[in-house]
């Protein structure tokens, strides 16, 4: 035991000597450098991280990118001159070249900063879940909902308003319905969005994720009778708030002939293709 410790001691002492030599040399060099540097700046040099490498993904070709046409580009079925719609589209594209309006759907979480003359810093920002996208052309709007300090707040923004400075999609997803107005009658946990949420990364290729959540509602009365077939809502858990008799009673307002009524059909596929081409051409100019 004693022999081992002796050898160990000698080993450690030799190591220490070596380390001291090293350290002395380093200190010699490092301190001289530090002093010289310190002499130049008043503060110690800040650590500047190396610039992040820009990754250009050549596997994602233009063909594999998801084709998305914002619904306000599609003109409604009307007797107006198509010239009006083409002029409006030109103006919309002009605005889009200045402000990037990203792809988003009803149910995605957005953060919008808008110019406000009365706010300190001249801008105000709002984060919320998109519950409705309405309007066509330049008057297109979207409604964001959030619950702040136990108060539900809904703000309707115009996509092409010059006051809007930034629209950022924090989470891109779709829901089972096109209109989430029933969140007003749902439990508050389904409408709360964290205002300091970090953006969730999403890929520009592939399908948009569909959130198949079924929302729980507050007790009746609701603002609208969401169980009626005219709203055609898939995203509510009716079995928790309504009896089967009430569901059957709601089916009395069903109009089964409506899906076969050819007058109500508006086939937009060809129009959409044309408009997508036009928009992509103009945006790439």
């Amino acid at each position: 035991m004693a022999a081992c410790t002796k050898r160990l001691d000698r080993f450690i002492i030799s190591l220490r000597l070596l380390r001291n030599l090293q350290l002395q040399n380093e200190r010699f060099l490092s301190t001289s450098q530090c002093l010289r540097a310190a002499g130049n700046d008043s503060e110690s040099p800040k650590f500047v991280p190396p610039s992040k490498p820009v990754i250009v993904d050549k596997t994602q070709t233009v063909a594999s990118l998801r084709k998305f046409l914002s619904p306000e580009f599609i003109p409604p079925r009307q007797r107006t001159d198509p010239l009006k719609f083409s002029i409006e589209r030109k103006d919309m594209i002009r605005r889009r070249k200045v402000l990037n309006i990203p792809e988003f759907y009803v149910g995605s979480i957005l953060a919008v900063t808008m110019a406000d003359p009365n706010a300190s810093g001249k801008t105000n920002s709002f984060v919320g879940i998109c519950i409705q996208r309405g309007g066509k052309g330049l008057g297109a709007t979207f409604v964001l909902r959030n619950i702040i300090n136990n108060q539900g707040v809904e703000i309707c923004y115009e996509l092409y308003s010059p006051r809007i400075q930034k629209i950022e999609v924090l989470k891109l997803e779709k829901r089972l319905d096109d209109n989430l107005m029933y969140l007003r009658d749902a439990l508050p946990e389904y409408s709360t969005v964290d205002p300091e949420m970090k953006p969730v990364p999403f890929s520009p290729t592939g399908e948009v994720p569909v959130n198949k959540i079924k929302v729980r509602m507050r007790p009746k009365p609701w603002s609208k009778r969401w169980e009626r077939p005219k709203f055609n809502i898939q995203g509510i858990r009716f079995d928790l708030s309504l009896t089967p008799e009430q569901m059957e009673h709601a089916q009395k307002w069903a109009q089964p002939w409506l899906e076969y009524d050819m007058l109500k059909e508006y086939d937009t596929s060809k129009l959409e293709e044309q408009i997508i081409k036009e928009v992509q051409q103009e945006m790439s100019k």
Binding site: Q78, Q255, M262
Partner: protein, 165 residues
């Protein structure tokens, strides 16, 4: 009693109000359409014929998509109440209108109904039906004096052109 302004103004409404309500309107149009597909020429009031015309043409558009298309079959079985007409639609009417792109029907007015209501009547038919035409082509009588003179003039002109060339 129209209470709201929306109910009073009907700008841009494409569908007429017929029968007892929307369900009744669709049922009525379904019956007329079935009769049209069976007989290929029917006589009804002008308003009903005008409404059915749109649905008849759309039905042929769906039939052109073919037998195997699920949506087309569902539409055909909904709109044709007599199910023996569904194969007729797909096998007779669809091939007949293969080369036509838009108008498959013809609407012609008739003298008003002789009842007390004096309703405007019309005849709606699919083109290419086996009956004699609604607007018969009038053949001009060649043996009238003017026609004979014109015939002679045409023959003289033809002779002159032959001698010149």
């Amino acid at each position: 009693m129209r209470l709201t302004l929306q109910m009073l103004i009907s700008h841009g409404r494409m569908a007429r109000r017929m029968g007892l309500g929307p369900r009744s309107r669709i049922d009525m149009l379904r019956n007329i359409l079935t009769g049209l597909v069976r007989h290929e020429r029917i006589e009804t009031t002008l308003a009903r014929a005008d409404e059915v015309r749109f649905y008849a043409e759309k039905l042929v558009d769906y039939a052109k998509k073919g037998d195997t298309d699920e949506k087309a079959m569902k539409m055909a079985s909904f709109w044709l109440t007599e199910k023996d007409l569904v194969p007729k639609l797909f096998k007779v009417l669809a091939p007949r209108f293969e080369n036509h792109s838009n108008s498959y029907t013809r609407l012609a007015r008739i003298p008003n109904r002789q009842n007390l209501d004096r309703a405007k009547m019309a005849v709606l038919e699919y083109k290419g039906n086996p009956f004699p035409p609604l607007y018969p082509a009038k053949k001009e009588n060649e043996l009238t004096l003017i026609n004979q003179l014109l015939k002679g003039y045409r023959e003289d002109r033809a002779q002159q052109l032959d001698t010149k060339s």
